[in-house]
Amino acid sequence: MTTATERSVPKPVFTDAEAGAKEFPDSKARRFNYFTPQKRKQTHYEDVTVEVQPDPRHYLAQGWLYGFSDGKGGYPLDWTQLKAWGSDRPEPERGPGTGGQGYEWPAHGWHEFRDPNEEWELSLYRYNANVVRQLQANVDAAKQAKSFQQWNPNWVRFVQQNVGAWMHVDHGLGLYLFANANRRGPTNMHNTAIAVNSMHLIRAAQDLALYQLTLSEEVEGFDGSAHLETWNSDPAWQGVREMAERLTATDDWAEAVFAANVVFQPLVGELFRSQLVMQVAPRNGDFVTPTVVGAEEYDFSERDLRYTKAIFELLSNDREFAEHNSRIMNTWLADWTGQAITAARAMQPLWSQPDTKPIRFEDALDRVKSRFAGVVEELSLDIPKELER
C-alpha cells in the first residue's frame, strides 16, 4: 500500500473581500480623487498617468529628496523658458511645524496638459505592434509578387541613398532629442507622450533599416550601405543633417520638441515623405516604399503632431503667460523656420533623380508651407517671414 503525503500548498479561503460586500465610509468611493479630470469623467489614460510624477507645489510634503550637484531635484520648471500659470509661485517652504500642504491641485498650468492620443502602455504596444506587423506583411507580399523586380536602376539608387538616409534623421531625433526630453518635462503626461514619440521615431528608423536589409537580399545590385555615404557627404542632405544635429543640441526641452514637431517635421519631414517619396514611388513602379514611409507619416501627422499641438496651444493661450510664451515661440519659429527652409531647398536635387518625376519641388514646398502655416495659426502664433525664403 502506498501513502500519499499531503503537499504543502496554501489553502483557498473564502474571505468575501469583494466590492460591495459591506457598507462603510468610502465603500463606494471608487475613483482616484487626487486630481481633477480634464472632462467630466476621468479617463483610463488619466488614471494611469496623472500624478505619478510628483510635484512639491501641491502634494510632495517632504519635497524632493535627491538633487543634482547644484541642489536642484526632480523636474525643475526652468528647464524651459516657457511658463504655465502659477509657474512663478515659489515652491512651498516646509520646515518645523509647517505641515505638508502645498497649493491646491493642480498648483500650476503644466498639469492641465493631457495627451489627446491618451497613450499608455496598452495603447502604445497595440499601435506599434500593428504597424510592424502590417509593414512586415506588405514587404512579404511584395517579395512574393516579385514587385521589386519592376524597379528601374534610378529608383533603386534613389531608395538606397535617399530613403536610406532618412533613417538617420529618425534615429537621431528619436534617441537624442525625444528620449532625452522624456527626463525634462514637468509632468508625467508630458514625459510619457514624449517617450512614445521617441519610440515612433526609433521604430521608424529601424523599419527603414530593415526594409533596406530586405532590399539588399531581394534586389540585385542594391547597395545596402549607400545611405551612409549619402548621409555623410551628399550636399543635398547636409542641410537636413545640420538641422537634425542642432535639434539634438538644443538645451530647452520645449524648444527642442517645438522645433522638431512644429517646424522641422512639417517643413522638411513631410516634404520628403509625403511630397516626394510617397508621390513619386508609385510612378516608378514601387508600391511598397510608400507604405513603410507612410507608417511614419501617420505616426507624425495623426499622433505626434496632435499631442504637440495640445502642449503648445495651452501655453500660447495660458491665462497668465500667453504673451510671454507666444513671444518666445515666435522667436523659435523665426529661428528654426529659416534653417528648415534652407534644409528643404538643399534637397531640391532629389526631385530630379527618379526617371518619372514627382510634382515640382516648388509646388511641393508650397504645399508644406501652407500646411505649416495652418499649424502655426492653430497655435495662435505668427507665421514667420523666414517662411518666404
Binding site: S8, P10, V13, F14, A17, E18, A19, K22, F24, P25, D26, A29, N33, Y34, E51, V52, Q53, P54, Y59, L60, A61, Q62, G63, W64, L65, Y66, F68, S69, G74, R94, P96, G97, G99, G100, W120, E121, R126, A129, L135, H171, L175, Y176, N180, R183, R184, N191, T192, A195, V196, I202, A205, Q206, A209, L210, L213, L228, R241, E245, R246, D251
Partner: protein
Amino acid sequence: MSRQSVAKAHQKIQELAWEPMYHQPVSHYGTDYTFRKAQKKDPLKQVLRSYFPMQEEKDHRVYGASDGAIRGNMFRQVQERWLEWQKLFLSIIPLPEISAARAMPLLFRNVPNPELHNGQAIQMIDEVRHSTIQQNLKRLYMNNYIDPAGFNSSLRNFQNDYCGTIGRQFAEGFITGDAITAASIYLTIVAETAFTNTLFVAMPAEAAANGDYLLPTVFHSVQSDESRHISNGYATLLMALADEGNHQLLERDLRYAWWNNHRVVDAAIGTFIEYGTKDRRKDRESYAEMWRRWIYDDYYRSYLVPLEKYGLTIPHDLIEESWNQIWHKGYVHEVAQFFATGWLANYWRIDPMTDKDFEWFEHKYPGWYDRYGKWWENYNRLSTPNGHHPIVAEDVDYQYPHRCWTCMVPCLVREDMVMAEVDGQWRTYCHEACRWTDVEAFRPVYQGRNTPNMGQLIGAREWETLYHGWNWADVVQDMGFVRDDGKTMVAQPHLNLDDPKKMWTLDHLRRMPNLQSPNVLLNQMSDAERAAFHANYIKGGPAGRPAKD
C-alpha cells in the same frame, strides 16, 4: 523572426548611429566617471519589429488574467491583510518605474557607445509599460476590492506619507546626481539586478498564497523585462571598470547603493511578506530565507563576486552586515513594528497578529516572541477605540524612534544609532553606513578627490518635524487620510469594517498629546544633554524598548 534574422536585423540597425559633424547632442547630466569608446555589444539584441509584438502578447496575457480574475470573483478569496499592504506598495512602485524611464537619458552622453543606447531606449519604454500597468492594477484593486480607501487617494497619500517618502528614494536616486551613480550603479546594478528579485518574484509568490493571482501576473510580466535591463547595467559596468580611475567611484557607489537598497527595500518588502501574509505554513520560506537565496546567493555570490577579478571592490562587509541586520538584529520585525506603531499616520489598515502568526514567527525566527510578542499583544488589545489612545501614545514599553536622516527609515536597531552635526543641524542615522552616505559620499570631494557631479541629499527629511507641535487629528487631516464621511480615518489598526464604532475617527485623535519631532527636540538639547541622550538611546531595544537604567 528567426534567430538568424534577428541577428542580421540587429547588425543592420547598428548602421543607424552617426557621429555628429555640425553640433554635439546636448549634455545635460554630468558624471565624474570617465569612459573610453569601446565596442561593447548591446546585450539585449532587441529589434523593435519583434519587441512590440512580444510586449503586446505579454499584455494580452496580463489583461486576459485581469478579466478572468474579475469574472472568477477573485476578491472573494483575497486576504484583506495582504491587499491592505498593497495600498502602500502600489502607491510607491509606479514612480520608481517611471523614474527608471526618465533615467535612461542620463546615460546617453556619458556612455559613449551608441549600441548600448538602443538597449537603453527600449528600457525607457519598458519602464513606461511597468509604471502604467502597475497603476492599472491598482485601479483594478480600487474598483473590485472591498475597501477602496487608500487606493482611491493613492498618489496624494504616497507623496505626503513618510513611508512613501522612504520608498521615493528608490525613484529619485535613479534620476539625479552623478549620472552613472544614479542611472547605472544605483538603478541597474543594484536596484534592478539585486532587489527586483524580492520585489517582483518573491513578493508575487506571497500574493498568490493570499488569494491574489493578479499581482503575480502583472509583476512576473514586468520581471521578464527586468532581465534585459540587468544586461544593460552589466555592459555599462564593464565599460566603467575598463578605466582604473573609476574604481574608487565604483567602490563608493556600490557601498551607497547596496546599503540604501537594503535599508529601503528590505524594510518594505520584508514587512509585506512577513506581516502581510496569512500563509503560516511552517515550510514556506521566510523573508530571511528568500533574501538568502535571491540576494545573497543569486546576486552577491553569483553576480557580484565574479566581478572582483575585473577590479571591482565588493562591499563584502556591508552585505554581511545586511544579513546580520535581517537575521540577528530583527531589522524587518523592527520596521513592521514601527509601521504598526504609526498606523494612524498611514493610509492602509494593519491587521493585528494572532497566535498562529506568533507560532510561525517563533518557528522561523527563534526568540521572536520574547522580543516582539508582548508588543503585538498590546497592539491587538488597543486596536479598537475604547477610551484609550492609539498605541503610539500608550505606555507599551516602546520609545518612539529618531529618523535616520539618510534612508529616512527610523533608527530602529537602537544600538546602531549614530549622530553627526552637519550643515548646522544635529542629525541621527540608523547606522554608520547611512552616516557615511550623507557625511562622506554625497559630497563634492570624496577621499580627497573632486567629485563635482555628485548629487546632494535634500528635502525635509524628517517627517515628524513638519508636524512638530501639531495635534494628531490635524496631522491626519492635513495629509488627507480621511474617508468620505469627513471623520473616519483611512488607516485602522484592524480589519473590522462591520461596526462603525470600531473604526477610529479624527475625534479620537483630538484627545492625544501633540506630536513631537525627535529631531527638533534633539537640536534643542545642550551638548551634554545630547551626549547623555545618545548614550541612553543606544542601550534601548530590541523591539523599541527604552533603556532600563
